[in-house]
C-alpha cells in the first residue's frame, strides 16, 4: 500500500510569482516569507515523495460559473498553468499520476462524494506557486493529483464537509495498491480579504489559534464554524483555510509538527506555513 508521509500547508498569492520572477527572495519585504521554506525542502528531501496530492482552490482559470463544481478531482495526464489575466510567467507543466487519480475517484464516489472528474484541467497560481516554493528549480520530481474546492460561488461546502473529504482522500491514498510515497499539499489562506470596505482585514489571533488547532487533540476545531462565521474570522479569501482543513484531515488522527512559519503581510495576506508529518 502507498505511504502517506505527511502534509505541507501554505498560503498562496499571485504576487509570489512576480517575486520569484524578479528574484526578490532576499528583498526585505519578501525575505520573512521565503525564509520559511528551506526547512520544508529539507523535510521533502528526507521524505522523498513520488506523488503530491494538492488541495487548492481555482481563482477563475479552469472553472467559470457556467459549470462550478463543489469538489473536483483531476485525472489528466498533464496539468498546465496558463495566463490568469496578469501575464505572469508560467511554470513548466506537471505530470499527472493518473492511477492515483482514478483510484481516488473510485473511492470518493463510493464514499458518496459527488465529485466532478476533470480529464483536462488548467492549474492556477494556487497550485503552481506552492509547488515552485517547494521545488524552486521547477524540475518537478513528483507526479501530481489536483483536488479543487470551490471558494468562488457561495454556498461553499461546509468546513465539516471539507474535513470529511480530506478524511476520505487520506483513506484512499493509504488504500492505494502502490509502493508510492505520497505527500499532501494544501494551499490557501490564512486570513485575508480582497473585496469590500473590509478589504485588507487580517486576524492574527484567529490564524494562530487555527494553526495550533491542527496539531492539537481537536484538529477539526474549525469545523464547528459555519462558512459565514469563518469569513467573519478570516476574511472572504481567508476561507481558503478549507484547503488546510482537508489536508489535515487526510493525515489521520495524529501528526507531528515539523515546521511552522507565520508572517504578515505578503500582498494583502497573512502567510502561514506548516509541515505536518504523519505518525
Amino acid at each position: 500500500m502507498a505511504q502517506l508521509l505527511g502534509g505541507v500547508l501554505t498560503s498562496h498569492v499571485p504576487a509570489i510569482g512576480r517575486a520569484i520572477h524578479q528574484g526578490l527572495q532576499d528583498d526585505p519585504y519578501w525575505k520573512p516569507f521565503f525564509a520559511g521554506f528551506p526547512p520544508v525542502r529539507q523535510w521533502l528531501a528526507q521524505a522523498r515523495p513520488d506523488v503530491v496530492v494538492v488541495f487548492y482552490n481555482d481563482h477563475g482559470l479552469n472553472f467559470f460559473l457556467d459549470k462550478m463544481p463543489t469538489f473536483s478531482v483531476g485525472a489528466a495526464p498533464a496539468y498546465r498553468n496558463a495566463d490568469e489575466g496578469w501575464g505572469i510567467p508560467q511554470v513548466p507543466a506537471f505530470t499527472g499520476e493518473q492511477d492515483l487519480s482514478w483510484h481516488l475517484i473510485e473511492r470518493l464516489i463510493d464514499d458518496e462524494f459527488d465529485i466532478t472528474t476533470c480529464q483536462e484541467m488548467l492549474v492556477d497560481h494556487a497550485f503552481t506557486l506552492p509547488m515552485a516554493l517547494l521545488w524552486p528549480d521547477q524540475a518537478w520530481p513528483v507526479k501530481v493529483v489536483p483536488v479543487c474546492i470551490n471558494t468562488v460561488q457561495f454556498p461553499l461546502p461546509t468546513a465539516a464537509r471539507c474535513w470529511k473529504l480530506g478524511q476520505a482522500v487520506g483513506r484512499a491514498i493509504r488504500a492505494w495498491d502502490s509502493a508510492a510515497r505520497v505527500v499532501v499539499l494544501g494551499t490557501g489562506g490564512l486570513s485575508h480579504q480582497l473585496d469590500g470596505e473590509r478589504a485588507g482585514f487580517i486576524n492574527k489571533d484567529f490564524d494562530l489559534r487555527f494553526m495550533d488547532s491542527l496539531v492539537s487533540d481537536q484538529p477539526d476545531w474549525a469545523t464547528q464554524f459555519s462558512i459565514p462565521q469563518l469569513v467573519e474570522q478570516a476574511g472572504t479569501q481567508g476561507i481558503e483555510l478549507l484547503m488546510w482543513l482537508a489536508t489535515r484531515a487526510a493525515l489521520g488522527e495524529r501528526v507531528e509538527e515539523v515546521h511552522r512559519n507565520y508572517h504578515i503581510p505578503i500582498s494583502n495576506t497573512a502567510a502561514g506555513l506548516m509541515v505536518l508529518q504523519s505518525v
Partner: protein, 116 residues
C-alpha cells in the same frame, strides 16, 4: 430570493446566488480577460466589448469608473474582477486602497500593522 439571510459582516459581501444572477454578464466578461487577446480587444473598444457581453447600465458605469465597490454592487466577483484590474496593472493592494479610500502606502501600512 429565498437564499437564507447571511449574518451581516460589515464591509463584506458573500457572492451568493443573488449576486451571481445579477453579475453573470459582468463576470463572464472579466473571465474572458484570462486571454491576452481579449484584454487587448477590450482596450481597443471598451464600449463594444461591453456590448458583446451584454452588460447592463450599472455594470457599464462601474467598468467605466474602474470602481471596485461599484463593480461588486453590480454583481462582480472579486476573483474575476482581479483580471479586469490586471489590465491596468493594478494589484490587490491598489484595489484595497481604492475600496477603503486610503492611499496605497497607508493601506500597506495598515496591513503591516496587523503583525503586531
Amino acid at each position: 430570493m429565498t437564499t437564507p439571510e447571511i449574518p451581516g459582516i460589515p464591509g463584506t459581501t458573500l457572492f451568493d446566488g443573488r449576486l451571481a444572477r445579477k453579475g453573470y454578464a459582468l463576470n463572464r466578461m472579466c473571465y474572458s480577460f484570462n486571454d491576452a487577446a481579449n484584454r487587448a480587444a477590450f482596450q481597443q473598444d471598451e464600449a463594444g466589448y461591453c456590448d458583446r457581453f451584454g452588460l447592463d447600465d450599472e455594470q457599464r458605469a462601474a467598468i467605466r469608473a474602474r470602481n471596485v465597490l461599484q463593480l461588486i454592487a453590480a454583481g462582480g466577483n472579486v476573483y474575476y474582477l482581479a483580471k479586469f484590474a490586471g489590465i491596468f496593472g493594478l494589484d490587490v493592494q491598489d484595489l484595497g486602497a481604492q475600496q477603503t479610500g486610503m492611499s496605497k502606502d497607508a493601506f500597506k501600512a495598515r496591513l503591516a500593522a496587523y503583525a503586531h
